[in-house]
Amino acid sequence: MTTDLLDQELTELQLWMSALLRRRTSLEKDPLTTREAAAKIGQNPRLSPVEQVEIYREQFWLRHSGSLLEDFPGLSGILGQEDWDQLIQGYLEAVVPTSYTLRDLGEQLPNFIESCGWLPHQALCRDMARLEWAYTDLFDAPDCGELDANKLAGIPPEAWSEAQLVMNPALKLLQVEYPVAALRRNLREAGEDESVPIPEPQPEQLVLYRGTDRGLYYRNVSRGAFALLSAANAGFSVVAAAEQAISEVPEEPIFASLGAWFREWGTLQWIIDVKI
């Protein structure tokens, strides 16, 4: 064995290279990097040292931007190629990927969009990014059992005042300013040359969930139902959640709707159990 590295020197070499691979522009144009590479990277008759590193740098950008494109088809559809590229390059420069899986790469994208004042349709983009990240999170969320109708029927009436709904872990509640769920569907279904109109603002309360077929779905529910689901999801008892919803949306007949809502939510497996 010849000139060996110390463990610390190995680490320094890796820190140097790791920083280079996240650079946005070609390394070959940077004289300092070219000099440093010549000292650290071996000679090759076909590729200079800096060209060898550049292969990995290009792949970093292709791989990560490709992964985000897969997970945010609605957002990229709104923006078009040029703005999408600018957004994603800025994101990958600002937010260091730290997770072992590319699945987590877009987690900070909704927040990052908040800082992108230059972005056309910024509020719509933020809503779409929140929706698409929520879908990614739901996609492999834990599985769960079904609501047991017999257990439900056996709960004594007096117990309901303290009962808590157990919500499906593969369910998310999302309040948006734009009808992004329908827009996403339209963008995905549109042909390559077909343009999809940008919608006007229209607040929606979305329940995003994984169906029994493991597909991802959404429903737009009333403000009262959304308030009740939100309170139940936060751990309120059924009665406290209903009272919370009534205080938030007094104009909606919430108590009168409870029976129908619970039946539907049980069928859809939004509710998977009731804790007494």
């Binding site: 590193v53 292709l62 990614t136």
Partner: protein
């Protein structure tokens, strides 16, 4: 006792990498396939479609786990949360072995999702061997590391890649996942003799062999796992089998993924070469002359190369 015997690594035959476009057909048709290899990270989520598909596959086929994110040679110890998830997956799948790569994946807190080459030095050997031995104890299954394709070398490297690989697997007492296509790719890119690599690794430690296609560019080859395994790689494979005996072999095809039938035909092509190698080993056949290298057909690299092909994701759902 040789490593494979001591830890009970079986020969599973010839398998293929399980890839998203084939899920439905495999579950419906239940074709005869010796075994599947899964990319571990694609099945570490708690539930949903990936876990559903995994459970259906496990009902009918032996499954091996192959990771791409361990970063065993990185500056920091492997991520604890990642290891816990991997062990949970190992308990579910009960693979005959688990593998990852001789590489690092990032530094300074960044995970770059690439298989970055290590300098072949004593410092790298110490770091990787210590962690590999610990990991094998932690996972409680035989563990193997794979030689990667690489596109750069370091001035600090004082060893050949095969010396480095051999030293790590011996010190850590782990298995070698031997990727014959990676040997070919790196040999071309760095100008060494691929046969010398094949002949100088510890054959008794090879627990599995990978075969794949690649992409020839003007100045270098990329390990894209695209297309058929070329004849020159199959020659190296035959020699590996002659030296190592029967070893589980897997076709990786991750880019421009073909129909399942084409993939299975490629596995049968590998099986034929494997049988030739075993016949040569048993002295029942004369060595088959190696193919004369054909002029490279140059391609254009247009996108990212990604181990394991596309992951199953929410983006595929409307």
């Amino acid at each position: 006792m040789p490593f494979k015997e001591s830890v009970g690594v079986p020969d599973l035959g010839v398998g293929v990498g399980l890839r998203v476009p084939h899920y439905r057909e495999i579950l419906e048709r239940q074709p005869k396939i010796d075994f599947f290899e899964l990319i571990s990270e694609n099945f570490m989520g708690a539930g949903g479609k990936p876990r559903y598909h995994l459970e259906r596959i496990l009902e009918s086929y032996p499954v091996i786990l192959h990771g791409v994110s361990l970063s065993i040679g990185g500056p920091t110890e492997p991520d604890r949360a990642y290891l816990v998830k991997l062990k949970e997956l190992v308990r579910k799948v009960k693979p005959a072995w688990v593998s990852d790569h001789f590489c690092w994946c990032g530094a300074g807190g960044a995970h770059l999702h690439d298989l970055l080459p290590l300098p072949y030095t004593e410092a790298s050997i110490r770091r990787v061997a210590r962690r590999a031995a610990m990991l094998q104890d932690f996972l409680e299954v035989p563990f193997a590391l794979e030689n990667t394709s690489s596109y750069l070398t370091y001035t600090a490297s004082g060893l050949t890649e095969w010396q480095f690989v051999s030293e790590v697997v011996e010190r850590a007492n782990i298995g070698l996942m031997f990727d014959v296509n990676n040997v070919y790719v790196s040999a071309f890119n760095h100008g060494f003799d691929a046969l010398e690599f094949v002949r100088n690794v510890p054959h008794e430690r090879i627990v599995q062999i990978h075969l794949a296609g690649h992409t020839q560019l003007e100045n270098y080859i990329i390990d894209t796992h695209r297309g058929q395994v070329i004849d020159e790689v199959l020659d190296l494979y035959r020699e590996t089998i002659r030296l190592s005996g029967p070893v589980s072999t897997l076709i990786e095809w991750d880019d421009e993924i073909p129909t399942l039938d084409i993939l299975l035909a490629e596995a049968e092509r590998a099986r034929t070469v494997r049988n030739q190698g075993l016949a040569e080993r048993a002295g029942k056949a004369a060595p088959i002359p190696a193919h004369t290298p054909t002029p490279a057909h140059l391609e254009v690299q247009s996108g990212p190369w990604r181990q394991g092909g596309p992951r199953e994701s929410a983006g595929q759902d409307l």
